[in-house]
């Protein structure tokens, strides 16, 4: 096999980018051990792809690590059987992907809900406050009216007694 042609074929690039087939990967792993040129070319490609990724990097917010640490600690506390199991083979064909996800029946005390509930709960809270405001307003108004009525009644009584005299 002509090593230069093999390197030029683009198989190394496909492997580094994770799209080489199982057979291509096995062949490459075998040839890599035999030919230092392939090993070196592969190393340089990996350096290139990492450099490109560095160029496009976005610094994560500082609180992300703490969130991650909490999640990891929570996962560790759970019994092993409850932990999410995902296939570790990253190079499977697209057609077989759907079978790789396993239903998780965890006893975790936490629950994930749709994001829409955040807005629904905020709306309920705001509406609750508005109704409470109205209730207080009408209560005070009602009390004021009652006081006015009792004042009017007493004035009326006074007027009646004065008229009788």
């Amino acid at each position: 096999m002509k090593i230069k042609e093999y390197i030029e074929s683009g198989i190394l690039e496909a492997y580094v980018l994770g799209s080489a087939s199982e057979a291509e990967t096995q062949e490459l792993m075998y040839l890599k051990e035999l030919h230092p040129q392939i090993q070196s070319a592969l190393y340089h490609l990996e350096v290139d792809i990492e450099r490109m990724a560095e160029y496009m990097a976005i610094k994560p917010p500082p609180d992300i690590w703490f969130k991650l640490e909490n999640d990891i600690n929570e996962l560790v506390k759970r019994p092993a059987a409850e932990q999410l199991s995902v296939s570790s083979n990253p190079r499977k064909e697209r057609g077989s992907r759907r079978k790789e996800y396993i239903d998780v029946d965890s006893k975790s005390s936490h629950m994930r809900v749709h994001k829409i509930w955040r807005w629904i709960l905020i709306a309920i809270f705001i509406l609750g406050k508005i109704f409470l405001g109205f209730a207080i307003f009408f209560y005070l108004e009602n009390r004021q009216i009652k006081e006015e009525i009792s004042n009017l009644k007493s004035e009326l009584k006074q007027l009646k007694t004065e008229i009788k005299r």
Binding site: G10, L17, S21, M52, E54, L68, Y101
Partner: protein, 157 residues
């Protein structure tokens, strides 16, 4: 005794994940962002991927390289790619990856960009792309190699 061992194992695992996180989190967030195109969602995927890394830390033979982590992340992101966010893959419309860093991608032809994005961001195989574009697998690999060479050159300048 068991608790102490468990604690030590957890501590070691956390240290290992932390080391990977320190080295690659920014790169991974940039990569995920280019797939999902939403900063908040990208951060959620970042956490979930590192949780998976921690879960499988002892099973997978982590060499700490970016390429290994990127391939692992790509596999996890295929769930996202398979959903409605990626409905137009077949005609290429779904491949409008937001290349915020034009120096790397600006010099690629439309086809090179399409092939590179399909492979790097969306995990399509060479065989699948060759069927989509009605070209031989060899020519797809060649185009990918050319794209890589152009990007390498752009990165060096």
């Amino acid at each position: 005794m068991l608790n102490i061992d468990q604690g030590a194992i957890t501590e070691n695992k956390l240290e290992g994940v932390r080391s990977l996180y320190d080295r690659h989190a920014a790169k991974l967030l940039g990569y995920i962002f280019n797939v999902v195109k939403d900063r908040k969602l990208a951060e959620e995927y970042l956490v979930s991927i590192f949780c998976e890394v921690s879960n499988q830390f002892d099973d997978l033979d982590w060499d700490g390289s970016w390429c290994q982590l990127q391939r692992f992340a790509k596999h996890k992101l295929l769930v996202f790619v398979d959903t409605a966010e990626y409905i137009n893959l077949g005609n290429g419309e779904g491949l409008n990856v937001h290349h915020s860093r034009e120096p790397y991608f600006g010099q690629l032809t439309k086809e090179q960009k399409h092939i590179f994005s399909s492979v790097y961001y969306y995990g399509k195989t060479i065989a699948a792309i060759s069927i989509d574009l009605d070209k031989t697998e060899d020519s797809i690999r060649k185009t990918l190699k050319e794209a890589f060479a152009i990007m390498r050159k752009s990165g060096e300048n």
